[in-house]
Structures are given as structure tokens and as C-alpha cells.
């Protein structure tokens, strides 16, 4: 069995995380008994990849792609940038790479095993589905256990299914686009995902079709030492429109789990894609995700990216503006609490003339948490008359906490309009006194100020998610005084 070369194996499990979201354990951090259809052994190898691919009855080309990707993963060193201490603690041999909770996917919640259904009930997914979603996908461990989409969308030719079904039912589209935006050689974790991917969403929206109601996927990790490697591919054909939302949670364990997704978006000419994430992983999850979009002529891609949970997040949603007049917008919020490092940011590549981009990043650090903004704006020589605007604001709530900014700009074209603004602030005593003089407790005053700080982000969320996010922040802020 091949072993990754960069391994600093801790002799013991890392020390227990102190969870600052006090009721995370109760609300999201609960766990189900494991009654799985299939749970393989821990560790990564060509045998594991072979077994997964055969179990999924994949075509040969995909099986070969997986093996090639595994070789790339094994050959690539760990990143030498970012939080290398935390990265060094990942033990790739101590992770389950494939857990299949049930033999077949459910088309109605009745077909989903009782305890898994209960879990999604507690997370409010069926309720959200009834109220305001056009389609829902629920992934549990490695597989999508429930999937449904409104009939009217199917009639319009919209495809929304899990990635495995996408590969079975639309092999020609998948073969053409899978890995076209993020090849396995891109980075070590993209290689790992390409080798052991399972689940995720496959979306295709036909030309000029507008999906006005959001589609949602929810990712749940239940087992300890789980590795979840969902793979998502979204293609909006010419003039099409779609909004996709993902959410995620996991039980609280003392040992670490790994979530390493790859998300590829392709917006054809005049298409519009918005991808919204509310990441609320438990504090023992490594969240190392590669997200990238291709925006063709006059297309618009928006990443709306909220990171609240996880132990270490490294995620830098990217837009390649490859068609004239394309536009990319990345709006992100990171909340880093105790023993959390949110290493988030954005990348925009201007590769065509008259393209424009906006990056807005807001980070909050508290209780010794660390948040980093890592951003890249690159303008290629042919991309004349571009516009880009970057704004990053950091709010640091106590002296133990930390915020870093690593902005990079590489401008190789003429007539480029650039704005860049970075601010670090603290909550002012006068602001707190002002709100307390109106009857608000000190905690409530701080929470309100923090909610105001990220308002530019929350106002972009569908109402229900904005309320949920504000509630999450409220919980994060509880007991933040003294």
C-alpha cells in the first residue's frame, strides 16, 4: 500500500476541541448509530479506489482517472504555505474514505432509513424543502441518500442529481467537463478528491432556462474519522440562470475528520450562477476545499461564502473571467473562534477584456481564533479595460485573537481600474455604551454590532439563511463578555 510521503503522525489523537458554539453539540453535533450498508477500512490506497469505482459500477475512464489522481496525490507534497502546523496533523491513514450508508438512494423521505431521516429532520431539511427550495440533495457520509427536484424543472430539461447519477445518466457531459476547471494536478487535495470523490451535485441548466428558486445540497458527516469528498459540477448553458446553496454540519468528536470537496462551475455566454455556502462544520473538521468557476462572454458568477465552523478551513473560491465582459463577484464571511483558523479568501483571474470583479471579505476573530484573508487578483496582458475592487474588513473581538491579510495583485494589462481597501477594527466602547443605554445587554450589543459588520453578506442570503446565520452569530457571541 502506498503511503503519502509527508506524514507527521501524531502518536495520540489531537487534544479535545473546546467547542465555543455552546449548543452546537445539541443542535448539530449529535450522532447516529452506525448501521451502514458498507464501511470500508481506514486508509488510502489503489485498492480503496478500485473498490469504490467497482462498487459504483463506473466506466473505465473514470476508474482510470481516479487511479491517476491518486498517484498525483501521493506524489504531491503537502502545501508549504498556510497553517502548516495544523495541516501536518492530518493523518491520511486514519480516515475512512468511503462509507455507503444505504444501498440505494431515496426518492422520498420514506425511503431513507429512520435514523438518517430523523437527523435531516432535526437539521430542518425537509421543512426547508417544502417551504422554499426547488430541489434538495442530502448527502450522508459518502453518498447522497435523498434527492428530489421539482417536476417543472425536470420538464424544462434542468438536470439536478447527485454526481454519481450524473456520471451514469449524462456520461458525455461529465466526461467533457469533469476536471476541466480543476484538474487533479491543481493541488494535493484536489488530487485526493479526484481519486476518492463520492456524491456531490451535478447540475445542468439548458440554454435560456432560468431556475429562479434555489437548489440546495446538504452535507452531513456522521462517523468519526470520516473523510467526505463530494464532487460538484454545475453547468449553466448560454443565457441560463441558477442559484445553488450548500450547507453542512457534523457531530462533535475528539478526533479529526476531513472534508475535501471540489466544486467546478461553468457559466457559458450570458449565463448566471450564484453559489452560496453556509459552512457550519464541527470544530474537529478539516475543511480543505477547491472551488473554481469559468465565466464565459458576459457571464456572471457569484460566490457567496460563509465559514463559521471547522478546525481549519482553507478555501479560496475562484473565478476565471475568460470571456469578454464577464463578471465575477466573491463575497465571503469568516468567523474564527477558539482553536479555529479560517484561512479564506478569493481569486479572480481576468483573462479577457472588459471583465470586472468585486471581492468583499469580512472576518471576525474571537477567543483566540485566527482568520486570514488570502486573495489574488490577476489581470492578463490581453485583459484590457478591466475593473476590479477588493475590500477586506476584519473585526477582532479580543486581544488573544488574530487576523492576517495576504492580498496579491498581478496586473499585466493596460487601462485597468483597481480599488483596494483593507480595514481592521475593534468594537468601540462608545458603540457598546450607546446600545446599552437603549436597554440592550452587553452581549446583545456586541452581537448586533457584529451582525451589522457582516450585513453586506447576510443581505445577499435568502431570508431563511440570513436569519439562520444571524442566529449562529448570536450563539457564537454568547458569553463573549468577561
Amino acid at each position: 500500500m502506498a503511503t503519502p510521503e509527508t506524514k507527521k503522525k501524531p502518536t495520540k489523537a489531537p487534544k479535545q476541541q473546546i467547542d465555543i458554539r455552546d449548543d452546537y453539540a445539541e443542535k448539530w453535533g449529535f450522532r447516529d448509530p452506525e448501521e451502514y450498508f458498507h464501511k470500508g477500512a481506514k486508509g488510502i490506497s489503489h485498492e480503496v479506489v478500485e473498490m469504490m469505482s467497482r462498487m459504483k459500477k463506473e466506466p473505465d475512464w473514470m476508474r482510470r482517472k481516479r487511479h491517476e489522481a491518486l498517484d498525483i496525490f501521493l506524489a504531491k507534497p503537502m502545501p508549504t504555505w498556510g497553517n502548516t502546523d495544523l495541516l501536518g496533523q492530518i493523518d491520511f491513514e486514519d480516515i475512512y474514505y468511503y462509507i455507503r450508508p444505504m444501498s440505494e438512494q431515496g426518492r422520498s423521505w420514506d425511503e431513507v432509513p429512520e435514523n438518517i431521516k430523523k437527523t435531516f429532520d432535526r437539521l430542518g431539511i425537509p421543512e426547508a424543502e417544502r417551504k422554499f427550495l426547488a430541489g434538495v440533495s442530502a448527502q450522508y457520509e459518502s453518498e447522497v441518500v435523498y434527492h428530489s427536484v421539482q417536476e417543472s424543472l425536470t420538464e424544462q430539461g434542468v438536470v439536478f442529481m447527485d454526481m454519481d447519477s450524473g456520471l451514469r445518466e449524462h456520461p458525455e457531459i461529465v466526461e467533457k467537463f469533469f476536471g476541466s476547471v480543476i484538474p487533479p494536478t491543481d493541488n494535493k487535495f484536489a488530487a485526493l478528491n479526484s481519486a476518492v470523490w463520492s456524491g456531490g451535485s451535478f447540475i445542468y441548466v439548458p440554454p435560456d432556462t432560468k431556475v429562479e428558486i434555489p437548489l440546495q445540497a446538504y452535507f452531513r458527516i456522521n462517523a468519526e474519522n470520516m473523510g467526505q469528498f463530494e464532487r460538484t459540477l454545475i453547468i449553466a448553458d448560454k443565457g441560463a440562470r441558477v442559484h445553488y446553496i450548500e450547507g453542512c454540519t457534523a457531530p462533535v468528536y475528539t478526533t479529526n475528520s476531513l472534508h475535501s470537496a471540489v466544486v467546478e462551475l461553468i457559466a457559458m455566454d450570458d449565463a448566471y450562477i450564484r453559489y452560496t455556502t453556509i459552512q457550519n462544520w464541527a470544530n474537529n473538521i478539516y475543511n480543505l476545499v477547491t472551488k473554481r468557476a469559468m465565466a464565459h462572454k458576459n457571464a456572471v458568477v457569484e460566490w457567496v461564502d460563509g465559514n463559521i465552523g471547522s478546525k481549519l478551513t482553507m478555501k479560496f473560491p475562484c473565478v476565471y473571467l475568460v470571456g469578454e465582459g464577464a463578471r465575477g463577484e466573491i463575497l465571503s464571511v469568516a468567523f474564527a473562534g477558539q482553536e479555529q483558523h479560517q484561512d479564506a479568501g478569493a481569486k479572480i483571474i481576468h483573462a479577457a477584456p472588459r471583465t470586472s470583479s468585486t471581492i468583499t471579505s469580512k472576518s471576525i476573530s474571537k477567543n483566540g481564533g485566527r482568520s486570514s484573508y488570502r486573495g489574488l487578483v490577476k489581470v492578463h496582458p490581453q485583459a484590457t479595460d478591466c475593473k476590479t475592487s477588493v475590500q477586506c474588513d476584519a473585526l477582532i473581538l479580543d486581544p488573544e485573537s488574530r487576523s492576517d491579510t495576504y492580498p496579491t495583485m498581478e496586473i499585466d494589462a493596460d487601462r485597468v481600474q483597481i480599488e483596494h481597501e483593507a480595514r481592521v477594527s475593534k468594537i468601540g466602547d462608545e458603540q457598546i455604551f450607546y446600545l446599552m443605554s437603549r436597554g440592550l445587554s452587553e452581549d446583545d450589543a456586541r452581537t448586533l454590532i457584529v451582525n451589522g459588520f457582516i450585513e453586506a453578506f447576510t443581505k445577499e442570503l435568502p431570508m431563511e439563511y440570513a436569519v439562520e446565520l444571524n442566529r449562529l452569530i448570536e450563539m457564537e457571541m454568547e458569553g463573549s463578555v468577561g
Partner: protein, 256 residues
Amino acid sequence: MSETKSLLACEGVRIGIAGKEVIRGVDLELRAGEKVALMGPNGSGKSTLVNTLMGHPGYELLGGKILLDGEEIQDLPADERARKGLFLGFQYPVSIPGVSVANVLRAAVNARRGKEVSVREFRKEMMAAFEMLNIDPKFAARGLNEGFSGGEKKRAEVLQMALLKPRVALMDETDSGLDIDALKTVAGGIMKLSGPETGVILVTHYQRLLNYIQPDRVHVLMEGRIVRSGGADLVDKLEEEGYDWLEKSVEERQEA
């Protein structure tokens, strides 16, 4: 003591900022239904006094008592004082970026009343207050004091007073930065909001506001002490002669 109920009282209040005694023994009483003007030149300690009454943690109470409805409140944090019905209209209100006027008002109203007020009821009250103060309803969605003009800030303070319905309102230079029309509106608002059960302390160093709100009593604060008290006629004398003639009496007192 008079027959009417005492709402707010200071007894021998001394206040320090960074180790320096700024208020050096103030006795003050506000009774139900009263409007009291607190006047004095710049730097006399007016803002320090009302901020301390509200519970600003940056000011240290060196001695004395503060009573609200006969109950000592000097050890309570600002939010508890507010929930008991004390209100401060700030001279320089800070902005709370990204938090709308409506959101702050709703959170404050819920805190003040100790219960969740329904959205419908709240909107009704807010709209009525907008109308009374001649405020555009679009105001509700703006970040509180974010990019507000001086006049808008002061209106927003009176707006908060209108919704919180305090028993005692301390209005710190609510007249400054207002043009004449805004001054009339704001003064009219304060008049409408004060009744037989409530009291207002108006901090100002000009007569302007007091042309629209007739004070029952006037106190003049200089160098941390009340040096003169009187009726509304004292305002006219101050307007004509300034504070110079009083400075003399302060010196005399200090020598004595």
C-alpha cells in the same frame, strides 16, 4: 420635599475622569412632570454628569448617590438603568454600521418592555413616531447614524426617545446642529413626549431650545458645581449677559 414624586435625584455626586475630579458635588432633583434645564459654558461638566447618570463606564463615581424613583441606581450597568426608564439623548451619537434604525429600535423596544413586541405593533408605533418627527419612512432601513447629517442624528435620538417612552430623558445638546425647522420639530417632539408622569433634563448652553420648551427650573453648572438655580427668567439673563457674571461668584465661593 415637594408633594410631586421625585423621579431622579443626585445627592452629593462627585465624578472623576482619569483621576481628575470633574464633578465636585452636585445635588439635583427632577420631579414628575418637570422639565429642567442644565446650562453652563463648554467644559463645565454637563455631558460628564448626564453620561454618568446613564452609567457610562468611562466615568468614575467618586461619591454620592443617584436615585431613580427613589431607588439607588449608581451601581447598575447602563442597560439596567435604561430598562428602568432612564434615557440619554446623545450629543454625539455613534454610528452602528450595517444595523438599521428599525433593528436597533426593535431590539431596544423589546428590551425596554421586557417582552417581544409583534412586528405589526412595532411598525405601527415606528410609523407614528416618524410622522410626529417628520421623518421619511425610508429612514428605517438605513444603518443607524451611518452617514447621517447632524440634524438626522438628533432626530434619530428623539425618535428613539419616542419609542422607548422613558420616565426620565436626559437630552444632551439635542439642539446643536439643527436648523430652525428641525429645531421646532425636535422641540415639539420632546414636548409631546413629556407628560405628568415623566421628566426631562435638557442640557444646553444656548437659549434656542428653551424658546420652544419652557423649563420649570434652570441650573447652571460651572467647573463641576451648580452655581446658580432659578426659574425660566434665568435663561434670559444668561442670554443677555453670558456666563461671565457667574464666574465671579464661583471665584468668590472658592475663596470662601
